[in-house]
Structure formats: C-alpha cells, structure tokens
C-alpha cells in the first residue's frame, strides 16, 4: 500500500481590492513550485481562479505574487523552501492595484519606467555609424550589472517607500534608468537625470536594500539608485540639469 498522500493547505486571495481568502487543499509533490500549486488549483479545483504566468522558467517576469507574506517569482520558488507547517498563503503583489485574485494591474509600474525615462533615445548621428562600446568600459560594466531586469515587480512590492509615497518612482524604474543612463549611445543622457530628480525621484530612496534582498535575479537597485544620486548631483553642480 502506498503511503497516504500529503496535502498542502493553500489560502488564496479571491476578489479585487476587497475580497477574502479561500482555502484549497492540494496534493504535495516533490519538486513542486508555487506556480505548479496555483496551476493545479486552476485546472482541478476552481477554473475561475485568475493568475498570470507565461514562461515558467524565470524569464518573463509575469508570475510574481505575495507568497507567505513576501514578494516572489512563483515559477522558480519551490514549495519546500517557503511552506510553513504545511501551509501556503498566496496574495497578489503589494503596491499595485488588484484586478482579480492573484492578478495585479501593472500599469502604474510601467508608467513609472516611462516617467524615469527608462528607454533608449537615439542620438542624431548617422544611422549606419556603429557605436564602438568596449566590454571593459566602465559605463558598459555598470549597464551590464543592471540590465537583466525581468520586470517582475517584486522589488516594487518590497519597497516601503513605494507604499508610502505614491509618486516615488521605485527601484525597478530607477534601476532601469541607471542602465539607460550608462548606455553611452543614448542621445539625451541628461534627460534621464532630469527625469529621476523630479518629485518622487532617486534622492528619496532610503538605501535599505529591501529591493535588492528580494530581487529574484539578484540585481541591486539600491546600488543603481546610489549611482543616479551621485550623477544627478554632479550634473546639478555643473548646472546641467536646467
């Protein structure tokens, strides 16, 4: 006779901004990720459960949720690492409006990327002229350290300042701005510095590294933000931030 199946007790947020948690019981498996648990529930217990995922391998950044109180990517979080006394509690990511169940509205998150000018602006040199950027150049190294962001929103959910100040641009947007500023091909690098000193800009960061602690791909937005603070200050003192 096979041993009795072990069961996970899973509490999941149901509803929008207001709602309640619902308990599901899911068979425990070896090597099960949190996303596997959610998918099991949606396939076998409640087809109406709303959640998001795409790649299942930690690339797309769409599967982040609050797992036992902490923001995490769920496709690469093993249940065995986070389960507490056979229980999992799952909620949508913090600091973002809830659409339904485990799905948040990421619009404010991406609006902040735009507000921090986290995008490339071409210069006005001729198009066929290839910019030569050496891999050992200091800006290139700084950009490489910040570029691998998967836009998962975990750091945004982990940042107290984002929850206190609606206008704070947040770790992901500022980290992106730092990567963009370090792209020496950008046509308006001071434009990025201007964008990140505005009201809810980089100087508000408390440097407490909650963002870095939670980032699933081990980026360090705090470090990027420190770089922005330094460069904006230099530009300001040189009178370039008019």
């Amino acid at each position: 006779m096979s041993p009795p199946e072990r069961v996970l007790k899973v509490d999941i947020w149901r509803g929008g901004e207001s709602g309640r948690t619902q308990r599901f019981e899911v068979p425990e498996r070896e090597n099960q990720t949190v996303l596997d648990v959610v998918t099991y529930i949606q396939r076998h217990l409640d087809a109406a459960l709303a959640y998001r995922f795409a790649c299942r391998v930690g690339v797309c950044g769409s599967c982040a949720m609050t797992v036992n109180g902490r923001p995490r990517w769920t496709c690469r979080t093993h249940v065995s690492r986070v389960v507490r006394r056979g229980k999992l509690s799952l909620a949508p990511l913090a600091n973002l409006p809830v659409i339904r169940d485990l799905v948040t509205d990421m619009t404010p998150f991406f609006e902040k990327w735009q507000a921090a000018r986290g995008r490339f602006v071409p210069g006005d040199g001729p198009r066929d002229e290839m910019a030569a950027v050496s891999p050992g150049e200091k800006h290139r190294i700084a950009a490489s350290d910040a570029i691998e962001c998967i836009n998962c929103g975990v750091c945004h959910a982990a940042c107290d300042l984002v929850s206190w100040r609606e206008d704070y641009l947040g770790p992901a947007a500022l980290n992106r701005a730092w990567a963009a500023w370090n792209d020496v091909r950008d046509g308006d690098r001071n434009g990025i510095l201007r964008a990140v000193v505005s009201g809810g800009g980089c100087h508000n960061c408390h440097t407490h590294q909650s963002c870095a602690e939670h980032c699933p791909v081990s980026l360090n937005p705090t470090f990027s933000i420190a770089g922005l603070k330094r460069e904006t200050l230099k530009a300001k003192l040189r009178g370039e931030l008019k």
């Binding site: 206190w164 000193v197 800009g201 100087h203 508000n204």
Partner: protein
Amino acid sequence: MTPLSYLLQRGTAMALVPLVIIHLAVIIWAIQGGLSAEEILSRTRGSLLWAAFYGLFVLAAAIHAGIGVQTVLREWTPLGRRAATGLGHGLIALLLVLGARAVYAVVWA
C-alpha cells in the same frame, strides 16, 4: 527630496558627527567633580571658539532636523509637498532662533 536637500542632509550629518562627539566628550569631562552654572559660563563667556562651535552645531542640527521631519511628514502623513516643506522650513527657523538665543546667552549675555 531634491538634490540640494539631499546634499544638505548628508553634509549636515557629516558635520554633526564630530560636533556631537566633542559635545558629549566635553560634557563627560566637565561633570567630573560636579558642575555649576558659573563653571560653564566661565568657559563659554566671551569665547569665540565656543560661539563658533555651537553656532555651527545649531545650524547643522536645525537644517538636519528640518529636512528629516519634512521627509517623514511626506512619507508618513497625507501632507503634500508644499505643506511638508513649509513645516520643515518652519522647524528650521524655530530651531535656529532657539539655538541662536542659547548661544548668545552663554557667550555674550
């Protein structure tokens, strides 16, 4: 926080480190064997050194406290930028006046 207030906040913090250490060290040293008002005043009266020391102390502490409180208000209360900045500046002014009076009292009065 603007780049300027950020610079002031960090700058005053750095200035306060030696000022607070000297302040505390002198207190501990001075109270050995009891301390009277006359004893303090005999040291501070007419001393430009102590006037400069505590003048700088008051300036740095006032700015540091004002910017800090302004930040806390912005993060922890629903106050907007203007109200928080106004209260922060008010606190700076208040601390400057109180501090300047105290420095004046122990050095010149």
